[in-house]
């Protein structure tokens, strides 16, 4: 597996790494399934873990013999998530990956400087699909700040950038704990939603943690 040195001193992410990322995320979700479900049963309907694990298991299987480009890879993920996750998170993640796929059209790799735009495309999809603007205690409260984090770290070395994304994601997911939900199922809880983590925010944090873990390990 070759990695292309990028001008900023980092290495670019190619389709094989993207596949590795998604497959590792699928595995991670199997482990975190119960935890996510537990979170969702406190303020939702208790299926987020099952939804995500099911959808990403399908992603993993479909990527097993994947031989197309980066954009197609994200598109495949999008379609599978939309078809297999269901619930709110299916179309949300599905739209995020759809928009990222569009952004990646014609690209063979993602360099550290590309992450901000890529994440922004995903976040934008979630914002529109979910009709959110931030602060509603949803996964968007992780996606949105990641755009800034990626922009700030655009010149950093890849592993450092990814570490910073993972940390920001975790921090922002934690920050949903104190929010009052005003979108999604949890909004019916009103004040009582305060004090609990948003499950979609946590699964998003996991996505970026796995990104960091996978790509830092890969090829090092």
């Amino acid at each position: 597996m070759t990695r292309v040195k990028s001008f900023s001193g980092g290495v670019d992410v190619q389709v094989t790494e993207a596949v590795a990322w998604f497959q590792a995320y699928a595995d991670r979700l199997q482990q975190e399934k119960e935890h996510l479900t537990e979170l969702d049963s406190r303020i939702g309907d208790g299926d987020h873990g099952a939804n995500m694990a099911r959808g990403w298991k399908a992603v993993k299987e479909e990527l097993e013999s994947f031989d197309q480009g980066l954009s197609e890879c994200f598109m495949q993920v999008s379609k599978t998530l939309i078809a297999k996750v269901g619930g709110a998170s299916g179309p949300l993640y599905g739209t995020a990956f759809l928009r990222m796929s569009m952004k990646l059209k014609g690209e063979a790799s993602v360099s550290p400087g590309d992450w901000a735009e890529l994440i922004q495309a995903g976040a934008e999809g979630i914002r529109q699909r979910g009709k959110v603007s931030g602060g509603e205690k949803t996964m968007y409260d992780v996606w949105a700040p990641l755009v800034d984090a990626a922009r700030d770290g655009a010149d950093l070395e890849e592993t450092v950038l990814l570490r910073s994304l993972a940390e920001t994601a975790r921090e922002k997911a934690e920050a949903t704990r104190e929010m009052k939900a005003t979108k999604g199922r949890a909004s019916y809880l009103g004040e009582r939603s305060i004090g609990h983590l948003d499950p979609g925010a946590v699964s998003t944090a996991l996505l970026f943690e796995v990104l960091c873990d996978t790509l830092s390990r890969e090829g090092m």
Binding site: G86, G90, Y188
Partner: protein, 334 residues
Amino acid sequence: MKKLINNPQHVVDEMIEGYVKAYPEYIKQRNENKRSLVTSRQTPDNKVGVLIGGGSGHEPAFMGYIGDGFADGVAVGNIFASPPPDPILETTKAIDKGTGVIYLYGNYAGDIMNFDMAAELADLEEDIRVETVLVTDDVASVAKGGEDQRRGIAGGFFVFKAAGAAAAKGLPLSEVVRIAKKANSHTRTMGVALSPCSLPQTGEPSFELGESEMEIGLGIHGEPGVERGKVQTANDVADRLLKDILHDMPLEQGERVAVLVNGLGSTSRMELYLMFRRIEQQLNQKQITIHRSYVGDYITSLEMGGCSLTLMKLDDELADIVDYPADCPMFVQK
């Protein structure tokens, strides 16, 4: 919790298989998408298509309501999870007769996103006109003033029935939409839960309730309600549910309603009739006329314990719609 299932991953597909085999004269499954179910009967030309749906686990809703005078098709999701756009789109294509399709489902973020995606695709790729009416009957979910943000629960039965009857009468899409919206705006539900259900995949209860606790307003997917307390008598619970509904939708002496006392899955009919008894006494005392009553399991949450009360306030048009006959696998009205 013990369940008669095989592989938990396949419960929904196996259930659909069983269901379709049980009622071939009513239902067929689309070859193109196994989660798309449509009526196997010939419907009139130009009839507006009525599509209902949502997650599984609410049986007899939604697939039990495909039939004459009711829905033409259903998109089936996983348990308590919206179906993805694919089966919705497939069902839409199958039931459209050139006069458009109405989507009816409960107001949940997940469903809205998936049905909206399907509607966009139906419009863009298939040139099918789709209109959407959301069910928002759950008084417990959002305070007065925020009616259109409320969850959809058992009252969906009346809204689906209204759209189904309007479409069966040959009305155009705009009229079907108007009547469905009117039915929804005239419908209020309040529920009470006594015991949880468990998802086949996890086997875990969907929420916890103490040995002698009940929760007023708990949602049909286990979403928290408005108040938790000790289990009360049927009369007290009925009074409470009715009070909350009438507070939200005041009814004058002389007005007419349709009543639905809906079991959530494991509540005996005996209890449902005890609830109905009290509701009838109270409405009678207020000189509100019960035009028609439904008592039983209409929209469940697997084997959840508890029930809900739904009132639909009737004018002549809605009374007519409620009386319209229906012939579905799990619901027949002569």
